[in-house]
Symmetry: C3
Subunit: 355 residues, 3 copies
């Protein structure tokens, strides 16, 4: 992933990302890397204090650091000192790597239906399939083997990595990214009972992904049964996540890997979900709720709640409870002691110990 | 997903789904939708009492309701009143949407081996691969990019969505559906130790999916190592589920999303598994057992058990235990109080408090 | 999966796998199967004592058994008695099934870039894509629809099953297997906050899979953001596992199905992870740590730890705690009894009961 371009000096890079530069350096930098990997023409990144000791052995031509960490470095070390070093990393990555040629054109093996409407700067890789009545905006890149089924609408500047399936009539906003193997608009798990058997309820609702949403590798988002599944603007979803039919996920929510959201649950804006957490169906999760890793939520939550455990409860209460479990054994012992004391003083000993 | 067909009146639709019609309506209905989305030529669905208040603003030409909810509506609201409104929804969806053209034919880019036996009304989409010695019944639809490997047998009326892989010699019954990205008959996680290393035991057993089974998106079902992995008739499996080698899943079982079943476990008929639950290997789960979301079962279960937690125990016991955790702090306090009382009366104070 | 070859006698098979043969048998054996499935020309496998009773009804021509189980069988039953019957199974499977023709050649629909370097005995199935600057060793088999992106390096004797995606510049060792649908080197879940929004940090690091690693179906391994994600030699990963960016997994580790490893965590060698377990980001897990199924680790662990629960703690402590939860109710009752006794003897009754 190389093909870098314009080499900038320390001062020029500092102008690019904001902040202050320290030390004398006139070389043109060629890239950015971990402090341990960076070469003498690269910026080394030092964000984690645990890596401070690596400064001595680093070959980096200069370091990108926070103000805190800069204070612990010799002023002889060339530095870009940034208030928001993570943002600076992203800007530097963008500078060094974004000018990689993004492909344009339709590969000879891609099948794009004659009724599909396609915008400018379109790319379709080998074995891509775009079915009829699809409507695609400008700057959309569809990588090898991905399938865009009948009637799908896609906005501008969308990147669809390899082996993605987008099912009929799904609507995708602009600046959306889907990692390899994601499934959007599949038919969900909805049945009615007929004696011991389960009979499928056809799922004919829609599935809508807002602007600036991102979907992780092998993540599955089901379409609605009736009505729509909705992923609002700015939602980021990690790998192997399950979003069931008719779920609504509020804007800017973050779902970590392997989260599961059951059917018809409505999630507020700005919520954060730890890895492997989940929520039952037909629940409402308040805005800005934070769900701990592995939690299982089975009740509505108020805005700004912090939840953990199963059934999920307030995080602090959960952690206190977990700590208390280790004390039960001690309590048993104390009760036994009290009983002994009392027994020694009273004749009344009819109460047998049970545990 | 449009292309509706025959418009029926309220009376005709009621005849179709059973139940009773209320109100005067002579229009021809064109579809079915959520009560909040339905247009004036559509049936609005009102099953959840929480949506009763939406009746006033709904534009639906008529409502499909249960007898309970009908009793709360004005008799001026046009209604189909059903004993089983979920079943009625399925029947109406089938009426309005099932006549979508189901494709027939083999796409010019599909590779179907000359030795494959193929039934009538076959569809193979773009880039489908059907290898040699495959045997496929009537009415089977295989969507784009799916791969049916050597020696697979498939019954009638099976729908294989895009990007499915069916590994060699897997046997699939009739009326089976596989959602996008499911993997059937992959080689599982079986090794023997050789010092610190793990050496693969080849997995050469079979994998059998019974009639009326359904497999969710990106779900993985491993073949047996020796012997078979068996999914019995009527089993429904949601997205991102893991079924390991040599598992047997009893008829009509329901596995929710992200469930994991470890190797050689045998599950009875009619069991229900909540999302993200799991079971250890070499376990027997009794018929009609219900496993709570997130539970982890590590012992055999009796029929009709209801289990929760990890290690899983009886559901009621689990919930009681969870409630009790919050009381430990109070118990500590009470013990301290009792100790104080006793201390105030006895000189014997040699027992120190520990917690 | 048939096409067996050389039929060996009981004595010859025993020579092949080591151990001792019991009983008179001169037939040529044609295969190996479960004790319940084996035909009269096959070796039946009896490793699990629970299947001892199946000996009477088995049609197997001979049994493969451990020394323990052999002692419980009549000496009239033909047997191969092995110190390590699992290893013997693998050797017998190898004998009976490994000579299946492994395909060679590039399918006419496979697209292999002219700049790709390809070793001997290469196989690329239908619709495989190998992009430019890819470097592939000897004996590599790539099955239908898999995509090997730009700059990937692959060692010798690697098997890539159908529908795998390997992203740009990933480096794969020798004797590696990837099951269907695995995603290697995808871009992970890394953002910086910009007000309420999350803005992607480009992930331009590498992803390295060591020799003898195996990756399960639909498992996802993200590339590094800066620096590399590293899966060391001999690591085996089951289905639907998530490995985030910049994770390092020590040699010979075993990750069961649906495990999740969050970003930048460093795992020691020889660790074992139960199904659906997980670990937070930026953690160090000591060598030979064993993580119970469903555990969630949020702190560094010492070598040889055994952990369970969430937040994960020592396994024994966890199990003791779980057992104690069931005793809380009894403790409440005992405290109430003690209070009654004391109350009956003292006038001081000012302490109210709370729970």
């Amino acid at each position: 992933m190389s093909e870098q371009v314009e080499e900038l000096t320390l001062t020029e890079l500092t102008d690019l990302v904001g902040g202050e530069s320290i030390g004398r350096s006139t070389i043109g930098f060629t890239g950015i890397a971990d402090i341990t990997d960076a070469k003498d023409t690269e910026i080394g990144v030092l964000i984690d204090p645990a890596y401070l000791s690596k400064t001595k052995t680093s070959k980096a031509g200069a370091l990108l650091v926070s103000q805190d960490l800069s204070a612990k470095l010799s002023s002889e070390v060339c530095q870009i000192v940034s208030e928001n070093p993570r943002k600076a990393v992203a800007l530097l990555l963008d500078h060094f790597y974004s000018l990689q040629k993004t492909p344009i054109g339709v590969h000879s093996t891609a099948i794009v239906h004659e009724n599909a409407q396609i915008g400018n700067d379109f790319y379709a890789g080998p074995y891509v399939v775009v079915e009829d009545c699809v409507n695609i905006g400008d700057g959309v890149k569809i990588h090898s083997h991905s399938v865009i089924q009948r009637g799908v609408e896609i906005g501008n500047e969308v990147v669809i990595h390899s082996h993605v399936v987008i099912c009929p009539s799904v609507r995708i906003g602009s600046r959306v990214t889907m990692q390899a193997g994601s499934r959007i608009g599949t038919e969900g798990f909805g049945y009615f009972n007929s004696g011991e058997k389960s009979v499928r309820i056809p799922h004919v609702g829609g599935c809508i992904l807002g602007d600036d949403t991102e979907i992780g590798a092998n993540t599955c988002i089901d379409r609605g049964s009736l009505g729509d599944t909705v992923i609002e603007n700015g939602v980021k979803i990690d790998n192997l996540v399950h979003v069931a039919h008719n779920v609504v996920i509020g804007a800017n929510t973050l779902l970590s890997a392997q989260v599961g959201i059951a059917g018809s649950t409505k999630i507020g804006i700005g919520t954060k979900w730890g890895g492997q957490s989940g929520v039952a169906g037909h629940i409402e999760i308040g805005d800005y709720t934070e769900i701990s890793a592995k939690a299982g939520v089975i009740e509505d939550s108020a805005p700004h709640s912090r939840l953990a455990g199963f059934p999920a409860k307030d995080l602090k209460e959960f952690l206190r409870g977990q700590a208390h479990i280790g004390r039960i054994e001690g309590l048993r012992k104390q009760i036994r002691e009290l009983r002994e004391i009392i027994k020694g003083h009273f004749t009344d000993d009819s109460h047998s110990e049970k545990s």
